[in-house]
Symmetry: C2
Subunit: 303 residues, 2 copies
């Protein structure tokens, strides 16, 4: 288990609540961030896949980050997603995050053009890094199921050699534990931080020398994630976490988490999603609630 | 063959030249647009896949369009790509294009989140259309190989029924001729314009009731495309066009087209690409030139 990681521990991939006209709801989001930090989260992976950031415009993404900081969410705890298909937008978002005080950003590869070469991806990240005016850390976002553009280990090795201390780690949402373990063993000794993107793999990734997790289920389960982080050998906590994750993943992940949050907060405004995501049907929601409740988690009162 | 289509005929998927610092090169691009309009193009599909638009930031995309219009490219001939993963950015780009005088835009589906439901995609386009303040036509961009989010015929039927005259056609870059023919036959009678995304299928699509093409090879071959459009039964022209397309598609498409344009214009500045795209190797370029030249096309002098 890596002990000196910049975002070591539990990071929720924070949901983005929306107003009725589909704008980011900053008051509700900041309250949720504060709740997470008070209930097991060490950091907050805002504006990622789970946060519907790819459904938000570039200026909206900046406004969300500014809004959270203005509402007292500590920027040093925030790891915003800043990767877009476009070089210049990715640079603009990263510079903006660094200027607000964020110490790290989570960066998708450019994900429109498929099958880019490793040389092309290296050139892209080199160009991004060359345009930054800060030492903000870049975390690579490996999520082939959504981005369709994976990070090869060869590419990671080249980036680490060329940009030590800048390319600082990876969030692996592939679900492929062997890939996470291999990265932690191969690159961890050079300070490369491996974060599990799947709660059920948190304990295993920590035991392989990983740094923690950045996960969707943690929007609800962060207190359990924290138990696993505190003791990666705590089998009961890891089993509970895996069962919660499985219950949540039984429906569409983002609508399901919003339904759980809405119920927990007693606040139907949390149900709003930006298309192409749609709310769960009543039937799917009640199946989800039943599966989640069967795990027996007692949640701390919502903010 | 559809005779009254808004962009009926030959539309090049226009390349975007870049300056040494990877910014869009508006002077070179406008000159290329004028050359295309003088050499067989009826319209210009700017800021699409071939134009590396997905590698450009939102504000850069707006600046390109403004720059072309300022340089005398008629906005009524322009069909810019305005689809992004983000609802609000897609709306902003579309409103901007309409305000500049464009009569139609080419819209990718939101392409980050994979496997969206047809209900979710319908909700997305309904929301986009509801936010427009004009009657600009939307052309759906079906390109599953790059977007990974196809348009089903059911979805197209629903959009046509709900937004007649607004959802006006499709660019099909799948390479699947049967899909184009089926759409032209099923939706063409309602005024739905089908554009081939592959030059080698232009004649077939026209004969099935399609409206024309929006294609990458046309950056070089537009005069031949125009012969096919003028007479879809001209087998010699279609054979030449298919051989040119095949020669070009033998290497990476965008770098290959830029290499051909650079050679034709005697202007190495055309070789610049924004990562993750990279220039062709010298060897790949000479193989491409040889294959292209073997087709025997005599190009009009470059602008």
């Amino acid at each position: 288990m890596m002990r000196n990681a910049l975002f070591g521990g539990v990071n929720a991939a924070v949901l983005t609540p929306m107003t009725a006209d589909l704008a980011p709801d900053l008051d509700r989001m900041a309250a949720h961030c504060h709740w997470l930090l008070g209930n097991g989260c060490d950091g907050l992976g805002v504006l990622g896949t789970t946060g519907e950031a790819n459904s938000l415009g570039i200026s909206e993404r900046m406004a969300v980050l500014e809004g959270l900081v203005a509402r007292g969410v500590p920027p040093a705890r925030l790891m915003p997603g800043t990767g877009t298909p476009a070089l210049t937008d990715s640079v603009a978002l990263t510079r903006h995050a660094a200027a607000l005080g964020c110490r790290g950003v989570l960066m998708l590869p450019p994900f429109f053009y498929k099958n880019p070469s490793d040389d092309g991806l290296f050139a892209y990240f080199a160009e991004v890094i060359g345009r930054l005016d800060s030492t903000v850390a870049l975390y690579l976002y490996h999520f082939p199921q959504q981005s369709a553009v994976p990070f090869s280990h060869d590419l990671i090795a080249r980036l680490l050699a060329a940009f030590p201390g800048v390319v600082r780690g990876v969030k692996d949402s592939s679900g492929d534990l062997a890939n996470m373990e291999t990265m932690a063993r191969r690159f961890g000794p050079a300070g490369f931080e491996v974060y599990a993107g799947d709660d059920s793999l948190l304990g295993s990734v920590l035991r392989a020398g990983g740094a923690g997790c950045i996960t969707a289920a943690a929007n609800m389960t962060s207190a359990v994630n924290a138990r696993v982080y505190a003791d990666p050998e705590d089998a009961a906590a890891q089993t509970l976490l895996a069962s919660l994750r499985k219950a949540i993943a039984g429906t569409a992940l983002i609508p399901g988490l919003k339904a759980l949050k809405a119920r927990h907060a007693g606040d139907a405004a949390w149900l709003t999603l930006r298309p192409p995501h749609l709310p769960l049907s009543a039937e799917a929601a009640s199946r989800l609630f039943e599966a989640f409740d069967a795990c027996g988690l007692r949640l701390a009162e919502a903010a």
